[in-house]
């Protein structure tokens, strides 16, 4: 992504803060810390050295040891009171929102809670984001077992209830805990399926760490199991559009009467269940393949419930 003037200004202020906190530092280290070339770091230190308070007399600018700078060492002599700026409202909302969401999804690393608390404390007058608990709950013991297996590079035995309500016992090799749109998943190699899987944490009923070492490393393609198989077009009465709003891949266009939903189908049974939940508002479903799954579900419900 293209670097903006803001990125450069934040970085220059950051270099001043770094030197204030850590003392004389090789330009090479400074460049590595801020992810730029040494030349760029040196240029920006020179720019800082010609910035300051009007009318910019020598003792009114930020001062560095420029001889040392030529030798590759950054030494800040006078910061003119300039330092890194506290977080803006948007910055605080973006960072605390993501951390809060990962904590709620059960996929935050150790220490995330303390980092979140410290950012909030430092926020001052900015409006923090409120992160509310979602409907899914992940057992703390399940989380602990999975992170232990990840850290130790071993397999875990889990009891898993899939989206079609089938309960299976599986042995997985967990690699990473991820939050996708606020829902927690574990990325793993599943020995039963002999393939990579992304399993929803709230569907794991039990988890135990095994002695057995992992045989497969993490997949090169994260999110693989969430790839869409085909595209569907669903038209519903506009009042029922809410039923599709939480589907990340869905685009919804609305006219005066109806809403047209374009979505990628990753799991036909899951999609059919979602359509059933708003069935009286359905106008049309394409393609025929999805209609067939919908019909099968409806028949099964009527057979059980009685028609």
């Amino acid at each position: 992504m293209a670097e903006t003037s803001r990125d450069r200004m934040v970085r220059m202020l950051g270099m001043v803060a770094y030197l204030e906190a850590n003392g004389p530092t090789p330009v090479k280290t400074l460049a590595a810390h801020f992810g730029v070339t040494e030349r760029r770091a040196r240029d920006e230190l020179w720019t800082l050295g010609t910035s300051g308070v009007p009318p910019y007399l020598p003792d009114e600018c930020l001062d560095f040891d420029f001889d040392a700078l030529d030798e590759g060492l950054a030494i800040l002599r006078d910061s003119q009171g300039v330092s890194q700026v506290r977080l803006s409202g948007q910055e605080a909302i973006a960072l605390t929102g993501a951390l809060g969401t990962m904590l709620d999804a059960g996929t935050a690393p150790a220490g995330a809670e303390q980092v979140l608390a410290r950012i909030r404390e430092a926020g001052g007058d900015v409006a923090p984001v409120t992160v509310l608990e979602g409907a899914e709950h992940v057992g703390g013991d399940i989380r602990t077992a999975l992170t232990t297996a990840i850290d130790d590079g071993v397999a875990a035995a889990i009891g898993y209830v899939d989206a079609q309500d089938r309960r299976t016992d599986r042995i997985i090799e967990p690699h990473r805990l991820v939050a996708i749109d606020g829902v927690g998943y574990v990325e793993c190699w599943c020995r039963k399926a002999q393939d990579y899987r992304t399993l929803r944490l709230s569907r794991i009923e039990s988890a135990a760490v095994l002695d057995s070492s992992q045989s497969h490393g993490p997949s090169e393609e994260p999110g693989f199991a969430l790839e869409a198989q085909y595209h569907a077009t669903v038209v519903v009465a506009r009042g029922a559009r809410w039923a599709f709003e939480d589907i990340g891949s869905a685009t919804i266009t609305v006219d005066d009467v109806n809403a047209t939903v374009e979505l990628g189908v990753t799991d036909e049974d899951w999609a059919a269940a979602r359509l059933l939940s708003v069935a009286p508002a359905l106008v049309s479903v394409e393609p025929a393949r999805l209609r067939e799954v919908l019909r099968r579900h409806a028949d099964a419900v009527l057979a059980a419930q009685g028609d």
């Binding site: 803001r6 202020l13 308070v53 700026v85 506290r86 951390l99 935050a108 991820v178 939480d246 869905a250």
Partner: protein, 325 residues
């Protein structure tokens, strides 16, 4: 044009406005702060006007930029000459010492990754760069965690986040579930996130009431109206319907053995009949329980209440009708 870069000019503006005892007017800023073009001697009237307009535009952009960086840049009116505006940066603007570790930096990097490809990514990236500035350099640990956001509404979230912290009124087109698309003018009070869905809570100026807006339903762009610091935010954000409330109704659901695991976990067993196991399940929203039963593909049926059982059937019949194509 001056050869001073935009970032250096803004740095100089930030320093000048932080150091001034009273305030600096636009003309003082233009004359003193390094990076702004002054009118060249002997310029024609037309050249002078063009230079003036270019300075005003540049200064407006710089002012907005410093504000969105989190600097409290205030407009100070002269008590004698009211239309003569001046500016100053007030108060303590420095990032407090947070004493963060390299492990903390790795945790924060995940928060930036979460917004990858979304408008909040830039805000997260700048915030990250600010927070890690003073951490001594070292190898950051690579953590086996990750995240991403794919939901709609993140475009509006970034603009609204700025408006919430600047306390600036916003206007946007909004399509609620029940009413047609309408323009709303709102004092944005706070952003709420739940399970990956973003909401705005604020004061709807036309309805004269507190309202919650689901940001995925905002159509088009969000525009700010009027000046910053236009209203006070309430100390506690009213969450209204977003707050989960306790279930208040009871259903009896029959499930097949080895089916309905989620219902079994929540419910109380109350017997068995004809190959079905019965569970009492507490619920608040009938539509959610109905959706759960419908999703079990005949692995469950509603025994009580009768209306709920009837509406399960109604849904299945309607689905069959549509499935005919």
């Amino acid at each position: 044009m001056s050869d001073v870069s935009a970032e250096q000019r803004r740095l100089n503006l930030m320093i000048a406005l932080s150091r001034t005892r009273h305030r600096l007017t636009r003309e003082q800023i233009r004359a003193r702060v390094d990076g702004y073009d002054t009118v060249p001697a002997g310029a024609t009237e037309e050249e002078r006007q063009r230079a003036d307009a270019s300075f005003q535009r540049m200064f407006e952009r710089d002012k907005d930029e410093l504000r969105s960086m989190g600097l409290p840049l205030r407009t100070i009116t002269d008590p004698v000459h009211q239309d003569d505006l001046g500016y100053r940066i007030d108060g303590d603007t420095a990032m407090p010492a947070l004493d963060l570790s390299l492990q903390d930096a790795a945790v924060l990097a995940l928060a930036v990754e979460y917004w990858a490809g979304k408008p909040l990514e830039a805000d997260a990236r700048h915030g990250f760069a600010k927070l890690i500035s003073a951490i001594g350099h070292g190898e950051s640990p690579s953590l086996p965690f990750g995240g991403m956001s794919t939901t709609a509404g993140a475009d509006a979230t970034s603009t609204l986040a700025a408006a919430v912290s600047d306390r600036q009124v916003v206007r946007f087109e909004y399509a609620s579930a029940s009413s047609p698309t309408r323009r709303r003018t709102v004092q944005p009070w706070g952003i709420v996130m739940r399970a990956g869905v973003d909401y705005l809570v604020g004061w709807d100026q036309d309805a004269e009431a507190v309202r919650t807006f689901r940001l995925g339903r905002v159509q088009g762009s969000v525009k700010t109206v009027g000046e910053p610091e236009a209203f006070e935010r309430p100390a506690a954000l009213p969450l209204g319907g977003l707050e989960e409330s306790a279930p208040d109704q009871i259903a009896v659901v029959a499930v097949r053995p080895e089916a309905g695991h989620a219902l079994r976990r929540r419910g109380e067993p109350v017997g068995a009949e004809d190959g079905w196991e019965l569970f009492q399940v507490a619920y608040r929203h009938a539509d959610l329980l109905r959706a759960e039963v419908l999703a079990l593909q005949g692995g469950a049926k509603v025994m009580e209440p009768g209306e709920l059982a009837e509406s399960v059937k109604e849904h299945a019949r309607a689905a069959k009708e549509v499935a005919r194509g």
